[in-house]
Amino acid sequence: MEDATCERIIKKLDSLIRQDPLMDEFDIVFSPGEVNRSPVVSVEHKLGLESWCLKHVYAHAHANILKTRHSKRIQDPAPMLRWTQFCLLVAPEVATFWNIRKQLLQHGSLSVDADLHLTRLVLSRKPKCMEVFQHRKWLFHHILAPCPSLPSPPCAIDHHNGSGPDEEPNRRFLLGELEICRWTADKHQNNYHAWNHRLWVLQQLAERPLGLAEVCRAEYEACHRWVRTHVSEHSGLHYMQHLLATLVTLVAEGVLLNLAEAVPSATCPKDLYCTELEFNRNLIEQYPGHEALFCHRRVLLQRLQDILLHAAPLHRTASPPPPALKRSCVETVNGEWSTALLSERDLVNKCLQTDSYQKTLGERHAHWLSNVLAV
């Protein structure tokens, strides 16, 4: 295929993406290859590229990127942007191309919105691509909300300086990221990177007290909805564990007034974890044979044990224990812990009565109870 044809395809793709900010999906369409027809298809804000042209155009773009990259100064960044865009749509795992775009972003030759759009398109095709999440994270830290201590890059947009009333756009960006995490996790099973990204978003949001209670409540509910239909995914459950710990910490640090702000049904951490154990037990009984649910249960039990027996603050902080754990409660807690253990024994017995994989899982759980919790 001639260079001119390759360039034409790359340009066509670029102009379609530019002209339609609502474009929300990119995919490679398998086709046997027809002569005299453009391989670029665009319907209903979806962009498709026919597979037959890939090898030639990618090789062309790749060679040009490497050639241009070694020249000292890029005179005109536009072709470079088009080539990297094409290559990243096809192979988003190549960090070099993302890094070239980062450089161009810092020199002000590329707008943040263009890259936010590109990363979105890539995620629609490869929702489990770590480099894309990484790039979005980078965009946030370096361009949208640069740390005050760092000299701000020349192209940083003035009103995004990360403080005071100008926080709002950043907050909206982060809420948008939650939405991205939601659909990428839906699109690809066991999407570790999407959940990891969500952890980061949660961390960023936790530093912004404005409207935090609503965010926490929405996250708590969304997470439960998700777990109910994804009973064997560790990633989602792991996020849930992190969310619960964060809620407890935020209340302990006084960022949230009380737990009920985020979880209406719970007034203290003990309530929170007891509700969780109940929820988890229902799932275990409804969907037998999923180890992820048992692993999650063990984390919950250990945290409940920490709360009831050691009255120690949970994880990552050295803040004072939540009010519910003060001395007046201590007399009753041992009783509560044995109630919790009795219900574990009940669950194990139920599992042992079945004759499927659930039985093995029940045996393992009993083993864990006796070895780790020393029941």
Binding site: E25, D27, V29, P32, A91, K187, H230, H290
Partner: protein, 199 residues
Amino acid sequence: MVKLYSICVLYKGTESTRILKSAYDLQQFGYFQRGSIQEFMAFTSKIITERSNPCSRQSIKEQEYMCHVYVRADNLTGVAISDHEYLYRVAHNMLNKVLDDFTAKVPSHLWPNTEESMVPYPDLPATLALWQNPRDADSLTKVQEEVEETKIILHNAFTAVLERGEKLDDLVSKSENLSSQSKIFYKTAKKTNSCCSFG
């Protein structure tokens, strides 16, 4: 994931099997793949029906999908495609209910020779949406007689239901109901999940 992708009602005739009504939920797939995936689900539903005996219930595992099929004594058939986590007992309960409902609304003389678009049964998409959340839907049918779990035959692979000497690849390439694009999709789909491939 606990997910239901499709429900089809079919009629297993003496010469040919035809789809009477179908509903799909393919939102999680890419726009350009949905067409092919839908064709494949219809294709699979038909193949399975053709290879199942009347009065039988089967659940067949294939890659990340589960295919549930119930052929009634009167040859009316229900096929549901879900993922692994969807409980097969629940899927068969649903098929029972769908077939009963279908029989009540569509007279049996229409079954052998009616085009899918002419069958007067618009309820399938709503049923599919309702049963996405088995916890809600299943409790509706709790009062009714439940499918006995022991009557459902489980298969670990699609090849188990194919006849001797048959291969899925051959069936795909011979099929007239699959577009050429879907056939290419079938061949390439196996490779796409690898990290640095071109497509």
